[in-house]
C-alpha cells in the first residue's frame, strides 16, 4: 500500500479525571480498509472513538493523530465532521423539539457547503432521504419525529447508520453500533456499512462481539486491552476471540490467566 494512511494514530495517551485510559495507541488505517477494534469492557474502545470525534472532556497526555496528513487533535468536533469524520454513537442522544428531518437537512447542507456543493432544497433533500431510508429500512415516520426522541434502542442505532449513509463520511467510526440489536436489525446495519465501503473511505468498527463481523468482513482486527492495542491480525483473530474469550489475551500479555 503506497498511499498514506487516512488515519494515523501515534502513541496516543489520554487521561480522563486524572486516570489514564489510553496508554499509547498506535494505529494506521488506509483508505478502503475496514478495521475492527475489539476488546473487553473498560479497555478504552469508546474513549478512543470519542477522542477521534473531538469530545472535549478528555485530556491528551501525549501522542498525535493525523487525519489525511493533518493534525487532527486541535480541530473542534464540527471541523472534523465537516472534513468527513463520522461517529455512530453508542448512546445516541435525544434532542426533543428538533425534527430528525430538519436536523439532518442542516447537517447535510453544512457538509455540502464544506465540499463546495450547492445546498439541497427541501424537495431534493426529501428525495435523497427517501432513497437512503429505504437502504437501511428506516420507518419514514421516524423522520418526522424529534431526533432520537422516544426511539427504541434499535431505532436509534438504525438512525445512526441512516445518518451515516446520508452524510457519506470519509472516515466512519462505529461505536458498538451492533450491541443490543436483534438479528434483523444487525443485518440491516451491516447492509448500511457494506453499502458505504469504498476505495476512498475507511471504516473503524468498535465492537464487543464478533457477530457483526459475520456480515461485514474486516481487513484488520485489533485487540484493545487495558488502553493498549495488544494484538492485531486478520479476520480469523475475531473468531479466535469469540472462541477463547478475552482471558486468553490477558494470559498472553500478563503471563497468567485472570480469574
Amino acid at each position: 500500500m503506497s498511499q498514506r494512511p487516512l488515519l494515523e494514530i501515534r502513541n496516543l495517551r489520554v487521561r480522563v479525571n486524572g486516570q489514564e485510559i489510553l496508554k499509547g495507541i498506535t494505529l494506521a488505517v488506509y483508505p478502503g480498509e475496514v478495521h475492527s477494534i475489539m476488546g473487553p469492557n473498560g479497555s478504552g474502545k469508546s474513549t478512543l472513538a470519542q477522542v477521534l470525534a473531538g469530545r472535549e472532556v478528555y485530556e491528551i497526555v501525549e501522542g498525535e493523530v493525523l487525519y489525511d496528513g493533518e493534525d487532527l487533535l486541535p480541530m473542534p468536533p464540527e471541523e472534523r465532521a465537516r472534513r468527513g469524520i463520522f461517529l455512530a454513537f453508542q448512546y445516541p442522544v435525544e434532542i426533543p423539539g428538533v425534527s430528525n428531518l430538519y436536523f439532518l437537512k442542516a447537517a447535510v447542507n453544512t457538509l455540502r457547503k464544506q465540499r463546495g456543493l450547492p445546498e439541497l432544497d427541501a424537495m431534493e433533500f426529501l428525495a435523497l432521504v427517501r432513497e437512503k431510508a429505504k437502504l437501511v429500512e428506516l420507518d419514514e415516520n421516524l423522520l418526522q419525529r424529534a431526533v432520537n426522541d422516544g426511539f427504541s434502542g434499535g431505532e436509534k442505532k438504525r438512525n445512526e447508520i441512516f445518518q451515516m449513509t446520508l452524510l457519506e463520511p470519509r472516515l466512519a467510526i462505529l461505536d458498538e453500533t451492533d450491541s443490543g440489536l436483534d438479528i434483523d436489525a444487525l443485518r440491516v446495519v451491516a447492509q448500511g456499512i457494506n453499502a458505504l465501503r469504498h476505495p476512498d473511505r475507511a471504516i473503524v468498527l468498535i465492537t464487543h462481539y464478533q457477530r457483526l463481523l459475520n456480515y461485514v468482513t474486516p481487513d484488520v482486527v485489533h485487540v484493545l486491552y487495558d488502553g493498549r492495542i495488544v494484538k492485531s491480525g486478520g479476520k480469523e483473530l475475531a473468531l479466535e476471540l469469540e472462541e477463547k474469550g478475552y482471558g486468553w489475551i490477558a494470559e498472553e500479555i500478563i503471563g497468567s490467566p485472570r480469574s
Binding site: 469530545r55 464540527e78 445516541p92 442522544v93 434532542i95
Partner: protein, 483 residues
Amino acid sequence: MATPTNIIEELVNREYRYGFVTPVEEEVFPPGLNEDIIRMISAKKNEPEWLLEWRLRAYRHWAKLVEEGAEPRWANVTYPPIDYQAIRYYAAPKRRPRSLDEVDPEIRRTYERLGIPLEEQERLAGVAVDAVFDSVSVATTFRQKLAELGIIFCSFSEAVQEHPELVRRWLGSVVPYTDNFFAALNSAVFSDGSFVYVPKGVRCPMELSTYFRINASQTGQFERTLIIADEGSYVSYLEGCTAPMRDENQLHAAVVELIALDNATIKYSTVQNWYPGDRQGRGGIYNFVTKRGKCLGRNSKISWTQVEVGSAITWKYPSCILIGDNSVGEFYSVAVTNHRQQADTGTKMIHIGKNTRSTIISKGISAGYGQNTYRGMVKILKGATGARNYSQCDSLLLGDKCGAHTFPYIEVHEPTAQLEHEATTSKISEEQLFYCRQRGLSAEDAISMIVNGFCKEVLRELPMEFAVEAQKLLGISLEGSIG
C-alpha cells in the same frame, strides 16, 4: 479548544444591537411626580376635563399606595427601591409631524435602523405601524386605508381628541387604576400609546403594530393601549420594543386593555427586546406591565403571544377574563433570561362564562445568571360550567448558574371544570451539543436549533415575519451561553 461552557458564554454575551441614541431635540419635563406634573401632561395633550380628573384620581390612589408602602414585592425578582421622584414623566421630540412626510429624518432613520420602515409602500406592506418615540406617537401608517373599512388605528392622544366617547367608555374598564401599583402610576401619567377600534363584522386586513422606542435618558415610558373588537370582528396586533444602552435603569410601566365583544377575536403578539442591561446587570429596563383582555362577548377569543428577550426585569401577566359563554383565552409565551436578567411572567385565566376554555403554553429559557419564573393563575368561578384549561410550563436551562421557577395557582369553584397542568425542566446538555457538532453543526447553530425546537409551539403562533425575527432574536440573545 472551546469548552461547551465557553460556547454558551460567548453566545450569551453577544451585544445588544439596538443600543444607540437618536440625536433629536426633545422637550422634557423636570424629574418628579406631583399633581402639577399630571396637569402639565394633560394640558400638553389638550385633554378634556374628565380625563384629567381620572388621572388625578389615579395619582391620589397611587400616592396613597406609596405612603402605605404597597409597592408589590411578591414577584420573584430583586431590585433596589425605585426613586419615583427622580424619573421624568414626559419626553417628546420638539418637532411634531402633522403627516408621515414630516417625520423628523433622525427619527425616520431610527426606525429604519430598527427595521421598521415608516413608508407605507415599503416591504412590510401588510403591516400598519404606529411608532411611539418616548412619550408620544410620531407616526401612524395606513390610517387612510384602514379608515375606509371603519377601522380606527391611531395614537391614544388622537383617539382622545377624535373619539372621546369610545375612550371614555372603555378606558379603565379592564384594568381600573385601582388594579395595582403600576397600573395606578400608568393611569396617572400615561402619555401616549395606540388605540384600535374594529367595527362590527370587519376583519382587519393587515397586521396592526406599534413600535415602542425609549430614547431620552432618565425617562420612564408609560404607554397605554386600548383595543376594542366589536361584534364579529377580527384583529391581529403586534408590538415591538427597544431602548438605548444606558447604565441607569429605566422604568417602563404600560397598561394594555383588550375588549372582545360577541364572536370577536383579538390576537395580540409582542416581541419585547428592551435593553436588558450589561453582563454585570448594570442598566436595563424595568418592564412592569399590566396587560389584560376581557372576553365580554359570547364566542369571543383573546390570544396573547409574547416573546420576551429583553429588559433587566420583566413583571408581566397578560391575562384573560372569560365572561362570555364559550369564550376562549390563550397565552403563548417564550421568556428568555440571560446574564443577570430576571423575569417573573405568566398569565391569569379567569373563567366566568359557561364552557369557557383556556390554553397556557409557557416556555422559559434561562442562561448565564438569569432567573426565570412562571407565575400563572387559573381560576374557575362558580357557574362556569364545563370550563376547561390546559397548562404546560416548560423550562430550559443553559448552564448551571441560572434558575427556573414555576408557581402555578389553581382555584376551582365549579365541579364540572376540567384542568390539566404539565411542567418539565430540561437542560441543554454537553452530550446534545457534542452530538450536533459531530454532525457538522456549529455550537451556535446547535443551540439555536434546540432552543427554537423548544419554543416551536409558541413561535408558530406569531405572524410569519415576526416569527422569523423572533427566531433570530432568540439566537442572538442566547449567543455566548452553555453548560
